[in-house]
């Protein structure tokens, strides 16, 4: 690394193409930004030390990062089952840490008209639009965030960004950190472990039920928009919490690799619900590891909605560790032209009478490709375990592609499993029928898609399902002549 001084580096964030062969100008736009902290391109021990020092981390965290770096470098790409697209990642050209302390020098007038239109159509609030477009470095959500933080703090809830939590609550953080998803779980979890920044830390004490979903107030700040965020949520015995991440506005990321790690721990009788709605720019590779451990009678539910990106690989999982634990994954993926949504779920049953439910719906539009990949594992010695898996795929035209790879291992005769899969098409007849009622072709498609995911979308919080619907309208509008 050439610049270790915190202020010396004033390179532009998008000066070079981080991933060879990806058109950076699509779904993305460029500005010259002056960043206060910039780790430069490429990944080495120096990069990791730089990040750790900027964040003023304790030595154990630096050690953790350095070990992770070694694991990352040693691990091969998951090439035997994954898409070849991964080989296009050039790790030397990626910027692993950027932090901007200054206000960017650009105005709303410079934001391209079509981007503004998208924000308007999505109903994104004015302030958020400016942030998303990169006009403002920091969405002015601090007040609202501090407010919610204070409210939940009265119940003893710790709600902080992970950098802050590592400094202020190492005793809790350290106990659970990296335990659900070990560094060496996969190459990208190792990468995240080496260079992570941003993300949330939540600890909900025993018996506390957090009334409002966390994150809506926290959803936009510079670090949270990082490419390697790390989130850890712990619900102590009998506690309940709902966390929401992302928003449906397209993210005009300066980076093309997003690799997050999210760990959830639900102790005895606790409930965690984790809701994601993301819409990435078309050039982003979104490779995320998400897993939770559910102890006795605990419940973990992932609601995951993936739209956009060039490639998303994400399989939220639940390890059902205690008796009567319950895991659920509700997944919606929409793959438009040039996109591949490789998503699914993992349910690892490790105790008696554990139950899991997976409902995955994918929509492939144009040349878009959707893949469902699932693992359900119930070993022989367990009794009374149940799994239900449903995968439904909707194809919007003949060039779309969908694949389903369910790997279900159920041993022993005291467990039950149920798997259903369907592929349907939006037929010309259905579109004609709707058009004959006065709906345009795009409106008809959009209605058909919304109908297809209706039962799942209704499980989203109101604001998210409304945004989701608007987003699908926009995607469908673009898909017809």
């Amino acid at each position: 690394m050439s610049n270790l001084s915190a202020t010396a580096t004033l390179e532009t964030a998008t000066a070079e193409n981080p991933v060879v062969g990806i058109d950076q100008s699509r779904g993305d736009f460029k500005y010259d930004v002056a960043y206060e902290f910039d780790a430069g391109t490429g990944l080495s021990e120096k990069t990791v030390r730089y990040i750790s020092s900027v964040k003023k981390e304790a030595p154990w965290i630096l050690d953790f990062r350095l070990k992770a770096l070694k694991t990352f470098l040693d691990k091969p790409m998951p090439t035997h089952w994954a898409t070849k697209d991964l080989e296009n990642i050039n790790f030397d050209k990626i910027r692993y840490y950027l932090s901007s302390g200054q206000k960017p020098k650009r105005t709303w007038d410079e934001v391209p008209a079509d981007i503004k239109k998208t924000f308007e159509r999505l109903g994104i609030p004015e302030q958020e639009r400016k942030f998303l477009a990169g006009v403002e470095a920091q969405f002015d959500s601090e007040a609202a965030y501090s407010n919610i933080k204070e409210i939940v703090a009265k119940q003893g809830v710790i709600f902080a960004n992970s950098t802050e939590a590592l400094r202020e609550h190492p005793e809790i953080f350290r106990k659970f950190f990296g335990k659900v998803i070990p560094t060496g779980d996969n190459k990208f979890s190792a990468l995240n472990s080496a260079v992570f920044s941003g993300g949330s830390f939540i600890y909900v004490p025993k018996g506390v039920k957090v009334a409002q979903p966390l994150q809506a107030y926290f959803r936009i700040n510079a670090e949270n928009f990082g490419q390697f965020e790390r989130t850890l949520i712990i619900a102590d015995e009998g506690a309940e919490v709902v966390y929401m991440e992302g928003c449906t506005a397209p993210k005009f990321s300066t980076s093309t690799l997003h690799s997050a790690v999210v760990e959830l721990v639900a102790l005895k009788g606790a409930k965690i619900q984790y809701i994601t709605v993301q819409n990435w720019a078309n050039n982003v590779l979104n490779l995320v590891t998400k897993r939770g451990v559910a102890h006795e009678e605990a419940e973990i539910k992932w609601i995951d909605c993936n739209i956009g990106s060039r490639l998303t690989m994400k399989y939220p999982g639940v390890v059902l560790k205690g008796r009567k634990a319950r895991g659920e994954v509700i997944s919606i993926a929409l793959a438009n032209d040039g996109q591949h949504q490789d998503t699914g779920a993992k349910m690892i049953h490790a105790a008696d009478e554990t139950t899991s439910n997976i409902v995955a719906k994918s929509i492939s539009v144009g040349q878009g490709r959707s893949t469902y990949r699932g693992v359900v594992h119930i070993p022989r010695h367990l009794k009374g375990c149940r799994n239900n898996t449903e995968c439904d795929a909707l194809l919007i035209n003949t060039n779309s592609r969908t694949d389903t790879y369910p790997a279900i291992t159920v041993r022993g005769d005291a467990n039950s499993v149920q798997h259903e899969a369907s592929v349907s098409k939006v037929s010309e007849e259905m579109i004609f029928y709707m058009q004959s009622r006065g709906l345009t072709e795009a409106q008809a498609m959009s209605l058909a898609v919304n109908g297809f995911i209706n039962d799942l979308a209704s499980q989203f919080p109101m604001e998210y399902s409304v945004e989701l619907k608007r987003l699908i309208d926009l995607e469908m509008e673009g898909s017809v002549g």
């Binding site: 004609f432 058009q435 004959s436 006065g438 709906l439």
Partner: protein
């Protein structure tokens, strides 16, 4: 008053000519019945007029109030005042009748105009009462798992809500038992008024016992071969289509 003129219309599916020189003028307030044996082009006519992409117009014109609609998309034709009641309506899983109709009504508003939800539901419930349809019906997904009778009632409800200038009803009686047929016919009769023109396509005379037409046309080999009043339908019923075929062969 509105007028729908089908002028010397020729329609093909692929290379095959189906409708050949079809002529008909339909005025508001009139009910025309088109009868004819299977495969004579009745349904093709209805779908072509509604703008189905599989049907190619090879000649002639369709004029709505003097303006050709042939260059219009199916949805533009619908918004201009045409309605096709399908013989086999499509299922739309996950989309409730209430939401579907709401989208269709919204599509008829000018851009930026917001639908008044209260007024919409009030009107919907009035129409449902008129058609004797249970309120619970509209929370079901459009045609999804419906019986034949329910599908046709759903068509009639849509027709009532969208208030077209002209309705093309394609074999509305097919697949209905006598009770269902009576209910559907009552609905159509309740909607009959001076502002609505109806073109009713049917294979059987029995529908015409319930919805009495002003004019009856017999279609054969892609065009109208006979026109008359209701008595023509009864004659056809008594003598059968074979009689007609023989007569036409001799002519």
């Amino acid at each position: 008053m509105n007028q729908l003129i089908i002028k010397d219309l020729n329609v093909s599916i692929g290379e095959k000519a189906i409708v050949k020189g079809f002529n008909l003028t339909l005025n508001s307030g009139e009910v025309h019945a088109i009868m004819g044996p299977n495969g004579t082009g009745k349904s093709t006519l209805a779908k072509a007029v509604a703008g189905h992409p599989d049907y190619t117009i090879t000649g002639g014109d369709v004029l709505l109030d003097g303006r050709s609609i042939l260059a219009m998309q199916p949805d533009e034709r619908a918004r201009a005042g045409l309605f096709l009641a399908f013989q086999y309506p499509s299922e739309i899983p996950g989309v409730t009748i209430a939401n579907f109709l709401r989208a269709a009504v919204q599509a008829r508003l000018t851009e930026g105009e917001e639908l008044n939800a209260t007024a919409y539901y009030k009107r919907l419930y009035t129409k449902m009462d008129l058609l004797k349809i249970d309120r619970k019906f509209t929370s079901r997904a459009v045609n999804d798992g419906f019986s034949g009778g329910e599908k046709k009632r759903c068509e009639i409800l849509q027709m009532a809500m969208l208030e077209p200038k002209f309705a093309l009803m394609d074999e509305t009686d097919s697949g209905l038992d006598i009770d269902a047929l009576r209910i559907v016919a009552e609905g159509v009769n309740a909607m009959r008024n001076s502002a609505l023109g109806i073109l009713m396509i049917t294979h059987y005379q029995r529908l015409l016992d319930y919805i009495v037409p002003d004019f009856v046309h017999v279609m054969y080999d892609g065009h109208i071969v006979r026109s008359g009043d209701k008595s023509l339908a009864l004659e056809l019923e008594a003598k059968g289509y074979d009689w007609l075929k023989k007569e036409l062969a001799h002519a």
